[in-house]
């Protein structure tokens, strides 16, 4: 600390203030852009009516990672939800997720607790077809999900189980819609190789 600014607090204070202000301004501008992209109906996040369509998650050779693909009509619970109904159902799902604190066992987008599997692409999990549809005697994936969510402790697959969180039928339907909609969000390739072998 021998140069002239060495121990001059005022000099460094000015530096700290300018660094903070510049960074905050950049963050503000980027946030405006990011929030547009992640609005439901924005370029990375589908509108809630995506629950009426088929959702896939496929390797995109151009991008070099898995991308959600929104396909043709594939109704949920055999119903077609208009935008208002879809929004209401998905909102219900989110309310269930918060009021039951699902995120304190599971992760969403990889964020939360690490005691239970990530739910980002749960809608697309092969376990529904392979394990839970036969186990619950259901004809569709959504039916199996609803039955599982209402009484998870009745359908154990291994030593660790999900407890009964007292979901109603409507609660469970909201959650299923939520998970279906969420699986269609473009998450820049997370999780990688979901449900298929790693790409070379």
């Amino acid at each position: 600390m021998s140069n002239s600014h060495g121990a001059d607090p005022a000099f460094w204070r000015a530096g700290a203030i300018s660094a903070t202000v510049v960074m905050l301004v950049i963050l503000g501008l980027l946030s405006v852009n990011s929030l547009t992209v992640i609005t439901a109906g924005g370029s990375h996040v589908p509108p809630y009516t995506a629950i009426n369509q088929q959702i896939l998650y496929r390797y995109d050779p151009v991008k070099g990672y898995d991308m959600p693909v929104i396909g043709g009509e594939d109704l949920l619970f055999g119903r077609r939800y208009d935008p208002e109904q879809a929004r209401a159902l998905v909102t219900r799902g989110k309310l269930v997720i918060q009021t039951k604190a699902c995120i304190d066992c599971h992760t969403f987008f990889g964020i939360g607790a690490y005691f239970a599997p990530d739910l980002t692409k749960s809608w697309l999990d092969p376990a529904w077809d392979q394990l839970w549809m036969p186990m619950t005697g259901s004809k569709t994936r959504e039916e199996a999900m609803v039955k599982f969510l209402i009484h998870p402790d009745r359908y154990p697959t291994w030593s660790r189980q999900m407890p009964d969180l007292h979901l109603t039928q409507q609660d469970a339907e909201g959650v299923v819609a939520y998970l279906k909609w969420m699986s269609a969000i473009n998450t820049n390739g997370f999780p990688a190789n979901f449900g298929h072998a790693p790409q070379p």
């Binding site: 700290a16 929030l35 909102t91 697959t157």
Partner: protein, 466 residues
Amino acid sequence: MYQSQKLAIKYLVVAFALFGVMIAAGLLTAAYYLQPRLLFNTLDFSTAKILHINTLVVWNLMGFFGAVYWFLPQEVEREVVGIRLANVMFWVFCAAFLTVAAVFAVVQTGPSAESTLWLINQGRKYVEAPRWAALGILAIVAVFMFNIIATAVKARRLSGVLGVLIVDLVPLFVLYLDAFPSETNMAKDMYWWWWLVHLWVEGTWEVLIACIMAWTLMRLLNTSRRIVETWLYIDIGLVMGSGILGLGHHYYWIGTPKYWFALGGFFSALEPLPLIGMVVHAIYDAGVHRMHCSNRPALYWMFAEAFGNFFGAGVFGFMMTLPQINLFTHGTQWTASHGHFAWWGAYVCGLISIFYVVLAEARGARQIDGPLWKWSFALLNLGIIGMAGGLLIAGMAQTFHERALGGSTLQSFITAQASSWFVEGMWMRMAFGVMFAIGYVLLVVDLVRVGRMASVVELRIPEVGA
């Protein structure tokens, strides 16, 4: 002693008691990994974990409040304005904590209705406390702000440290407003939530503890105000310069645009810089003082703070901060490894150091030493390092089996959890967690006895204002 300092001691005592509650809840949370049938459908993992991390946030906040209420009157040489109200808020804080903890433990969750968010549980990580309690925290922080600002105005004195603290109070309050929304769109929800977690905990809290450590340094080592303030500004410049856009390392996978890969990766990779600065400074101080100080525990905990922050946040954070790596480590026990180590180094070590300083001054002890603090120091630090190690091993198993090979499906999750590395990592965490808990008990015993018992050995008082 100022009234404000009496309040400070109350805050610190409750904070350290809650530290114990938090450890108990942590051990319980860890136990579910080893015994999955534990309290099944009675008190599940989620509830234990909520108690663990919410108590963490509350006791850290209380510790910061305690430290500020202790140093503030010394800084301005007068009683804190509005201290009555601050005392009332202390009891409000305690009562609110007890109520929330009881509701979490007994009621746990509620029906899917808005009323649950207000009264029982908000279900957002770290800020699960219901809205009424979040409003309470806002009120408490508001009074805290009022105390500090009104005192500075009355005293007509604004040192650099105090100025920084006052500016920092604004984001401390504003970012906490983030504890209320229940946004349907998870992408947006997470976007703002990270302002609370990264910018609040890793930003405004960092500045808050830096101010408190600056005061501590001046008292502990008689470092001159000019030097302390210069370092404080450099530290803030680096923290904000790297950390504000470093926020982008949480925006890789939540639906946000890809430019965050470059921005988040670059700026967060710079985040360790201020931490390295702290280590360099600590070593320099150690050389100057040859580790002589009348309050050795406080000094050692201050060094633990510098090194812990550097390794836990700087090294363990850096390991997984680039998107190419984070894709595979994200949301595994690896994160928990870093989370524990970083939080320990960034806040807990500092709070312990401060408590020793406060107790020594409060009890008029001229020399603080003895064997006990060394044992607790060793057990706590080894405990956290061992826990971080166990979690890292478990996290690596997850990275390999679940994220890289298995594609993060339920089946791959199960494979990873059942792998021997993972299971051993969980046992290791538990074993070192118990060690940590023993260290805590010794710490409490030492804190109760310090300066009271016959540990007054030799006099080596640094001259004031040297």
